[in-house]
Symmetry: C2
Subunit: 316 residues, 2 copies
Amino acid sequence: MKITVLAGGVGGAKLVDGLARIVDPADLTVIVNTGDDFIHLGLQICPDLDTVCYTLAGIANPDTGWGRKDESWAVISQIERLGGPTWFRLGDQDLATHLERTRWLQTGQTLSEITRSFCEAWGVSVQVLPMSDRPVSTWVETEELGWLPFQEYFVRQRCAPRVKNFNFREVSQVEPAPGVLAALREADLVVIAPSNPWVSIGPILSIPGVLNELRKRQDCIAVSPLIGGKAIKGPAAKMYTEMGLEPNNLTVAQHYRTFAKVLVIDEEDRGETESIEETGVIPFVTKTYMRNIVDREFLAQEVLRIRSSLGGQTTS
Amino acid sequence: MKITVLAGGVGGAKLVDGLARIVDPADLTVIVNTGDDFIHLGLQICPDLDTVCYTLAGIANPDTGWGRKDESWAVISQIERLGGPTWFRLGDQDLATHLERTRWLQTGQTLSEITRSFCEAWGVSVQVLPMSDRPVSTWVETEELGWLPFQEYFVRQRCAPRVKNFNFREVSQVEPAPGVLAALREADLVVIAPSNPWVSIGPILSIPGVLNELRKRQDCIAVSPLIGGKAIKGPAAKMYTEMGLEPNNLTVAQHYRTFAKVLVIDEEDRGETESIEETGVIPFVTKTYMRNIVDREFLAQEVLRIRSSLGGQTTS
């Protein structure tokens, strides 16, 4: 059974890792948000791609949700000594990824090709696809500071400014990366990972052709990133509130209802099932919090169980 | 007394360090070879500039002659894992220098400006000038492999191929960096450091205007890089032999005789004084091998002693 997952960083990476542990990783494709990508210290940084790849390779830092485990910080401390910017902490091992990626991009290789080659080196057999090879950059409009590039908002300002709007620059002019539309069309199961609907899943849905493929299927299983009105990590709930919406699973269901068949929510939010049903999305209650590998595998199993209970795929 | 030194990497750095310890560093200017510079991993690497600055800052690796002391290697080991090039070993701390330099060059700052700013951060008060702001690249023609960029010859091939010729690409089109000609014109003493005459001092002499300034003075003190027909470090002696010349101080004197007043040679080569005198260059015999800080200061003192024995400068 071929599975395609749309994912952002941490939560997405965990669910994909869970799936990769219970199915043949070669049958698994993950389409990763690259709207957070930016150039820093002259290097091309792809935070979500790296979090997904590092997690699948078993070399991610389990505590931070970004970067490498057993990391050292010699480069950034010397950059600090030279008066360079240090608000975006780049570890030494992590830096090697950005250096090699930047170098290969400069020779004309695409982000897809580079990602494939890195995955091979790291022993990752899941097919990891950036949503597009050409850059799309997420900008966040804030009350206090106007429009900010995503990492300025997310890391430098620590998500403090109130959000008014989002913009995925150049998104209408880019093409999905090779394999993205086919992976959505040919999969037996499409999963929306528990990632931020605004700034992780949102950019992927904005890539021309992606939403259309999902709507043709109308059978995808979305996992809500909210539990008890809060996100496990990141500003999803805060964003809903600031955009004038309740930070709950009903809002997530409304966000995804044009293509999602099922919304997986946590036991804690069992009380929301009726309201979700009214949107036409089927709520499925289980344990969605992934504290450890066992939780990842459990949630992945649950997603497969939902899929088999739904019967054959409904691809047009 | 203002002193200007022409220098390459290791030997040059040691003598400049010796001088900086016995005179006011603010009166000291060093014009550094940048012919060895190259782009590696997408970064601008300036080996001689860095060796000079690291040595003056007290952060150079005393054993290798390049790189930083107490260095770590996390980045390069991960680059290796990704299949990237590792023949040019870049340490983590060292890498920060190249990253920041490359970033500032990309914003339009000049190499001189960046070097000044780095020296400030490292607490180096000697004025360190690259020979030029625009790149000049040293190429080495070899018997076995034809023309090689300097670092390919020097690091990758470990100086093994036999040398036939040298070329400093673009050198006739570049200008000396701001301050270079003035430092040669206004100094009370100009010193040629014990660096490789072919590939360390040679590129500096090829910068338009430099040789002319030196010849106007005809009073500079050169320190031979050879002791007993061998170079302390690097391929200077091998290069002389392969170019059909005896690797001795007479050859060095002939190399520099159009502008050098004195050639400082080691006690071991006392027997060469007569032949050197015939070139019109005054030989001065002392201990030139710099094993430690005391040796550096001693040689620096000897150079000052020669200067005072020569009397007032002969600037035209």
